[in-house]
């Protein structure tokens, strides 16, 4: 498990990170969510030793992250870079060796990875000769070649073509399923929503929320029910204690008026409404509305 403990960092007078703490657990995809400039990249750079922290620490399995430990990490920076004039296979092999692989093992893994990413036929082309999408695949190969213990990807989906997105998704899920923690940042909520198990939300250099995605949804999302009845649902507007967010003929979305939710004051408000609806006629659906990540995000920051 990767633990970030109270990491702070300033650039000049500007405090970019303020006592940032969170965990990245094995076998789980952790989405690192925040607006541009919230401190995602700085945090990742500190984890990877590219930047120093002013205060705080980063530990891996309880041990400080040293150069040797870091060599077992895989990193894909946001502004991806490889050597333009180097051949694709040579390049990925070289990165493998840089991470401590033998020449033979690096060569074998490179070949397998490139085939997996449908780049096998371009192995001996210079990187600059590849299309942008293929360059991104080569980049993924470079961050995976040494079979990293931990994967850190900065905005892995930004600017990817749809096929490459699928490739990255497949690869990341596989890594997580194999037990490696995966930390990836994104400002695209929809992607994070379908992909991550855990969430870390950062804003203005402070962690606003972190934990399991579903738990966070419960904690930060406003509880809502969608009620579909046989006839007009307009009567809901007159029920005390609730707020009707939308009503469209027989369909309505309601939320509690007080911040304490549907169980405010020990009363089961949701159940009372359901009973009332059934008394008035047919009830076709009464479903809790799962809050979107977008909502959690707005709520949390």
């Amino acid at each position: 498990m990767l633990k970030v403990n109270g990491v702070s960092r300033s650039f000049g007078d500007h405090r970019v990170l303020d006592s940032v703490s969170f965990d990245v657990k094995p076998g789980r995809m952790t989405g690192f969510l925040g607006a541009n400039g919230a401190g995602k990249t700085t945090t990742m750079r500190i984890i990877l030793g590219v930047l120093k922290a002013d205060a705080g620490s980063v530990t891996w399995h309880g041990q400080p992250v040293t150069q040797a430990v870091r060599q077992r990490f895989g990193y894909m920076p946001e502004e991806r870079g490889l050597y333009p004039k180097m051949k694709v296979a040579d390049q990925i092999q070289w990165f493998g060796r840089l991470h401590g692989m033998s020449q033979a093992k690096a060569a074998a893994t490179t070949e397998r990875l490139l085939d997996e990413l449908d780049l096998g036929t371009r192995a001996n082309d210079k990187l600059e000769a590849l299309s942008l999408g293929n360059q991104q695949r080569a980049q993924i190969a470079a961050s995976l070649v040494h079979d990293p213990d931990l994967l850190i990807l900065d905005e892995p989906f930004s600017g990817l073509d749809p096929i490459a997105v699928d490739t990255v998704l497949r690869v990341l899920r596989q890594r997580a399923a194999d037990g490696s923690p995966v930390l990836f940042s994104s400002h695209q909520l929809s992607v994070v929503e379908q992909l991550c198990d855990d969430l870390v939300i950062i804003s203005g250099g402070e962690i606003r929320a972190s934990g399991e995605r579903d738990e966070l949804k419960q904690r930060y999302g406003t509880p809502r029910y969608e009620l579909v009845v046989g006839s007009d649902a307009g009567w809901l507007r007159d029920v005390p204690g609730i707020k009707v967010t939308s009503v469209d003929g027989p369909k309505a979305v309601i939320e509690p008026a007080s911040a304490e939710g549907f169980r405010a004051g020990g009363e089961a408000l949701d159940q009372r409404i359901l009973q009332e609806a059934m008394r008035r006629g047919e009830v076709r659906a009464f479903t809790p509305v799962v809050p979107s990540l977008n909502e959690i995000f707005k709520e949390a920051i």
């Binding site: 990491v7 750079r45 500190i46 990877l48 030793g49 590219v50 930047l51 120093k52 922290a53 002013d54 205060a55 705080g56 620490s57 980063v58 041990q63 400080p64 992250v65 040293t66 150069q67 040797a68 430990v69 870091r70 060599q71 077992r72 990490f73 990193y75 920076p77 502004e79 991806r80 870079g81 490889l82 050597y83 333009p84 004039k85 180097m86 040579d90 070289w94 990165f95 060796r97 840089l98 991470h99 401590g100 692989m101 033998s102 470079a142 961050s143």
Partner: protein, 377 residues
């Protein structure tokens, strides 16, 4: 305050396949070398220098290979020589003939014997060695009067100094490849992956080692080619004199390259785009062109050359030149190399800090002061 980096200094656990500093340095060096030898330009450049060397040595013989010019005072001898393949210049007296030899308008003069030992009654006057074809055509070898019995002519000396300076400049400028490599890594952001994987120092060290090895390789090729070229051009006398200087020139060139190598790397790391490289390479380029021009301009000034042969930046040309002209004592190149070595240590230490401090700063040109103070980040 605890920082990640301080914690890093805690003894690292040596788990599966960690890469040591030396291994990391070598991997970087290996990549630099491979990238270079895969470029056509590299081989074309090296071939051009070797071809130039042979051309400079052989062409004068081929082009100027007509009749040997001889000044002659006696009509009788003149007729004999004109029958052979000599370009004869008639002069009225010995003084005029000697003057022509001194000004190198003729290669030798045939004048009446003054030694009394000549079987044919003539003697040959030449600057530092008599043309062999002339000696052969005069029957039993006449006595020879050498006006400047040095081993090497002034013209040859100038040519060698030019060659030393030119080759120095070519190799020293070769360091621009280090600057380009550094800026490429910044421009493509590959540097982020590198820094997260390797110690920054091994990245710099690898670049210096890689490019130094490339330079050593090329210098050795030239050091082997030069004597062959001189031999092919029939310049044996020059070869004999130049060999010790040439032997010294090799380590001096390599030291000079290493001296500038880390500075080239800093020049590259200060900017984020190839196009901006020109704005940071000025100082290093001045350290290449300055010594080149100073040595060429001051090559006749013994005091200046002595000073230049101890200044680390110009020693690589000035000391071999002084060894070549016979002005330097045997111990002098050792001292001079030692001074360069000390300077290398100082400059590399400063450059390492600047390189570390500027490597991750993107955007415009990084100021040196900022690079220096950011190094602790």
């Amino acid at each position: 305050m605890t920082s990640v980096e301080e914690r890093t200094s805690v003894e690292s656990r040596n788990d599966s396949g960690g890469v040591t500093f030396m291994q990391a340095t070598w991997l970087v060096a290996e990549r630099e070398i491979k990238a270079f030898v895969q470029m056509k330009g590299f081989w074309i450049g090296l071939a051009a220098i070797v071809i130039g060397l042979f051309a400079a040595s052989i062409l004068p013989n081929v082009l100027g290979g007509g009749d040997t010019k001889v000044a002659v005072t006696s009509t009788e001898v003149a007729q004999t020589l004109e029958a052979g393949s000599f370009d004869v210049e008639r002069t009225d007296d010995v003084a005029a003939a000697e003057e022509l030899v001194r000004t190198e308008e003729v290669e030798a003069a045939v004048v009446p014997d003054t030694t009394g030992q000549s079987a044919t009654g003539v003697e040959v006057v030449a600057l530092e060695n008599p043309p062999s074809d002339l000696m052969a055509s005069l029957g039993s070898p006449p006595p020879v009067n050498l006006l400047e019995p040095g081993d090497v002519s002034e013209g040859e000396k100038q040519l060698v100094i030019m060659a030393f300076a030119l080759v120095f400049m070519l190799f020293a400028m070769g360091g621009t490849a280090i600057a380009q490599s550094a800026v490429t890594e910044k421009q493509t952001r590959v540097v982020e992956i590198l820094v997260s994987t390797l110690p920054v120092k091994s990245l710099l060290a690898g670049k210096i080692v890689g490019h130094t090895l490339l330079t050593v390789g090329q210098v050795i090729v030239l050091a082997i080619a030069a004597p062959i070229a001189l031999q092919a051009g029939g310049n044996e006398a020059l070869l004999e004199v130049i060999l010790p200087a040439l032997g010294w020139y090799v380590p001096f060139l390599v030291f000079a390259f290493v001296l500038l190598a880390s500075m080239w790397a800093v020049a590259g790391s200060l900017v984020s785009r190839q196009e901006d490289l020109g704005s940071t390479m000025g100082l290093v380029m001045a350290l290449v062109f300055g010594p080149y021009m100073l040595v060429i301009m001051l090559s006749d000034n013994a005091t200046a050359m002595t000073v230049l042969s101890y200044v680390p930046f110009s020693a690589a040309i000035a000391m071999p030149v002084r060894l070549f002209t016979g002005e330097a004592q045997l111990w002098e190149p050792f001292v001079s190399l030692g001074l360069i070595a000390v300077m290398i240590v100082v400059i590399t230490a400063v450059a390492t800090r600047l390189y570390t401090g500027s490597l991750l700063q993107t955007g415009g040109k990084v100021k040196l002061s900022r690079a220096w103070s950011s190094a602790s980040d």
